[in-house]
């Protein structure tokens, strides 16, 4: 267990090495170094995990303090790691999936002029993420929290010579800052209440945090989570974050970073136990996010946008679980989601590469003939996310729905929202599958469809209405459209489709990309084994993280579970069948379903843009004017006053000593006269 420091140290070493020599290395070597660093970290995680498993349950907590970070009076922060079942579980899937995605990136980023830089950022990201989950106290976690935010920013705007990508990175960064305020305020409040920010100490004295304080702490950290984990109201950055390279979307914006909010709240479960109605807020915000994002995913035509909204929606599921005290369900879903969503993103990347960087699904179709490996693996991911047994997603999603059902008071309502979301999930994922791999028509062979270069407009929708909305939309609402072909001449353009011609023949991706797909497909297939519901002996994950989690509620009894599971499976099948009718058999016009309001994600982003761009900007201008006029004016006024006074008084300093002597004499005499008069002589 003493090896725990090596887990983040290896990616840091990889980062430093690439920082030093990354530019000089020939193409594959930078990727190999980055991949080996993370793979080594995964091996160390496995060793540490086995060591931890061999310990008796009560000894599965190991604190490694590397140095004293901030000794400030009674405020004392160590830089160290907390190793327990929760953190090592996170480490295992972060480094495992991270290594696979590094391997995949060697193929995906082939020929990119900034190849070495990409792996440098990826390694730094993995290191920060490991710091986040391994941190021994809130401040170390915060360091990792900010680190992943910074890496996310760099990687979203990795192809920054396209302005839209740079804007998307900025948007993610700024939106996350709002959440980070919550993190900092929450940390302060914990410190004031408990007198320590160590997780061990928080667990020990969480009883001291009661009532309103616990609610406030929980809500502040939930605000942090809404930023990082893309929940309402701060989810708007995640769909735009798809501007980054696809491996980044898979690693950061699907599998790891966006789940750190879920991790944080699970870590703080001793406080959440006392947080009262904050848990209701979390559950309902999660439910609303899940439903709205699933609705938005139905009308997206960019394959990565579908997956992005799907990620937001699945994260909503995890927060439903957190809010219903079902931490095992949240972490279980976090892991299975990491498997199948990373798989889906990497599969999408493989499709995008096969289709000459075209991301518009309306130009796909029938691809299963050309890229069979990608088709099969993405198909497994599709079944997993749709909730079809025995794939991984079914077990975890079902556990969350069961936990929601068991909530006091509004449980069935919460379950119903989750259920509708699950149907929508099955629907939009089937839509993605059919538009990409089935459909019978190879749409890119149709020159008219290729010429129509506005992927943001849903098929057959009223173009005027959408354009009107576009006008008010944020500039950051990414148009992957061909608006910036001229900026991309110097390297191969990733967001453009200029390579896609009617005679294009899709080619299967190289082996380095297919291996991660196959491994992840295997994990998406069997991931459910982590926590099967049938018997207590099969609750491996629950038993494993049980010592870390406080105040977990029990799931309903077996009979209820069976009924809920059967209803959920039926829902998923209905969703898939309906999508089959619409998109394969064309019984219903898709335009009737893909409303502009869905394509624009309920205009939430557009509303933000309008508010911040209109009254918001006016308010900011007002604040700036106040600063320039009143605050600066006061300071400058003092300076001008002093200057004017000096001009008046300057002649007194004549430089003639005798005048000064006369002044001293007159002053002395005047003083003497005054004293004598006052003293009554």
């Amino acid at each position: 267990m003493e090896l725990v420091w090596l887990i983040p140290a290896l990616p840091v070493a990889g980062f430093l090495l690439l920082l030093a020599v990354g530019r000089k290395l020939d193409e594959p070597f930078a990727g190999v170094i980055g991949t080996l660093a993370v793979a080594g970290s995964f091996l160390v995680s496995c060793v540490v995990a086995l060591d931890l498993m061999s310990q008796p349950e009560e000894k599965r907590q190991f604190v490694q303090t590397l140095w004293v970070w901030m000794p400030v009076g009674s405020f004392h922060v160590d830089f160290g790691f907390l190793l327990d079942p929760l953190s090592i579980t996170m480490c295992l899937f972060i480094t495992g999936i991270g290594a696979l995605i590094h391997l995949y990136s060697i193929g995906y980023m082939k020929g990119d002029p900034a190849f070495g830089k990409f792996f440098m950022y990826l390694n730094l990201f993995v290191a920060s993420m490991l710091l986040l989950v391994l941190g021994q106290n809130l401040l170390v976690t915060f360091l990792g929290w900010e680190g992943v935010g910074a890496c996310s920013y760099w990687l979203i705007s990795f192809w920054f010579d396209d302005k839209a990508n740079a804007t998307a990175g900025k948007k993610a960064f700024v939106t996350n800052r709002i959440g980070d305020c919550g993190f900092m305020l929450g940390t302060f409040l914990v410190w004031v209440t408990i007198g320590s920010i160590d997780y061990v100490e928080i667990g020990r004295s969480a009883g001291a945090v009661v009532g309103a304080t616990a609610t406030a702490v929980a809500l502040l950290f939930f605000l942090a989570a809404t930023g990082k984990s893309a929940q309402l109201p701060l989810f708007v950055w995640l769909p735009d974050a798809m501007a980054g390279p696809t491996p980044v979307s898979a690693l950061i914006h699907a599998a790891t970073m966006v789940t750190s909010g879920v991790f944080l709240l699970s870590r703080l479960s001793p406080i959440m136990e006392h947080a009262g109605w904050a848990n209701d807020v979390i559950a309902w915000v999660g439910a609303a996010t899940a439903l709205l994002a699933a609705g938005a995913a139905v009308a997206q035509n960019d394959i990565k946008k579908v997956l992005a909204y799907s990620t937001v929606s699945q994260l909503g599921f995890m927060f439903i679980a957190i809010g219903s005290y079902n931490y095992t369900g949240a972490i279980f879903h976090m892991i299975t989601h990491a498997f199948f969503k990373a798989l889906l993103f990497l599969g999408a990347g493989s499709v995008i590469l096969a289709m000459a960087h075209e991301q518009d699904m309306r130009r796909y179709g029938n691809l299963r003939k050309y890229i069979p490996v990608t088709f099969v693996t993405v198909g497994i991911g599709w079944l997993a996310i749709s909730g079809i047994p025995p794939f991984a997603g079914f077990w975890s999603k079902d556990e969350i729905l069961a936990g929601a059902w068991a909530v006091d008071g509004y449980g069935p309502a919460l379950w119903a929202v989750g259920f509708v979301t699950a149907i929508l999930t099955a629907f939009y994922m089937t839509r993605l599958m059919i538009m990409t791999f089935f459909g019978g028509v190879e749409n890119w062979r149709n020159p008219e469809l290729l010429a129509d270069a506005e992927p943001e407009v849903p098929l057959g929708a009223d173009a005027d209405a959408v354009e009107g909305a576009d006008g008010t939309g944020a500039e950051a609402t990414l148009a992957h459209a061909a608006t910036a072909t001229d900026t991309h001449d110097d390297h191969h353009a990733h967001d453009e489709h200029h390579g896609l011609t009617p005679d294009h023949t899709p080619v299967e991706s190289p082996t380095t990309m297919l291996v991660p797909l196959i491994v992840l497909a295997g994990l998406a297939l069997i991931g459910g084994l982590l926590n099967l519901p049938f018997s207590h002996r099969l609750h491996f994950l629950k038993e494993w993280i049980h010592p870390v989690i406080v105040g977990e509620h029990e799931l309903p009894e077996a009979a209820v579970l069976w009924v809920l599971a059967i209803v959920a499976i039926t829902g998923a099948v209905v969703g898939i069948f309906f999508a089959y009718r619409v998109y394969q058999q064309r019984k219903v016009d898709p335009a009737k379903l893909e409303k502009p309001v869905l394509a624009h994600a309920w205009y939430i982003d557009d509303t933000y843009a309008a508010v911040v761009g209109g009254p918001g900007e006016a308010a900011f201008q007002g604040a700036a004017d106040f600063d320039a006029g009143i605050v600066d004016g006061a300071v400058l006024g003092v300076a001008h006053g002093t200057d004017a006074a000096a001009k008046v008084l300057k002649p007194v300093q004549s430089g003639i000593v005798r005048t000064y002597a006369a002044g001293v004499a007159i002053g002395t005499v005047a003083l003497a006269v005054f004293v004598i008069m006052r003293m009554g002589f």
């Binding site: 008084l649 300057k650 002649p651 007194v652 300093q653 004549s654 430089g655 003639i656 000593v657 005798r658 002597a661 006369a662 004499a665």
Partner: protein, 106 residues
Amino acid sequence: MFALELVLTESWYLVLAAMLFSIGAAGLMIRRNLLVMFMCVELMLNAVNLSFVAFARGLDDVGGQAVVFFVLVVAAAEVVVGLGIIVAIMRRRQGSTADDISLMRG
């Protein structure tokens, strides 16, 4: 024989000290020669010394005399520094007066 009763009380000394001080102060303000101004300052210092001694006698307090020693020592030091400055100025500009040295005017 008409004998003038002349009793020298300390008031005489104080009056003398006041006169010396006034002469020194007037000289300082009127004269422009640096050296003379310096001598005037010495005159004022010694006038104060005289008043200290007179008070020490009148009030029967030896503290006044002790202060005089300090003033003497400080005055000696001041003469050293002051004369050094005056000599340096005289070397640079022949026959200059105090009013010419007004580089620091506002």
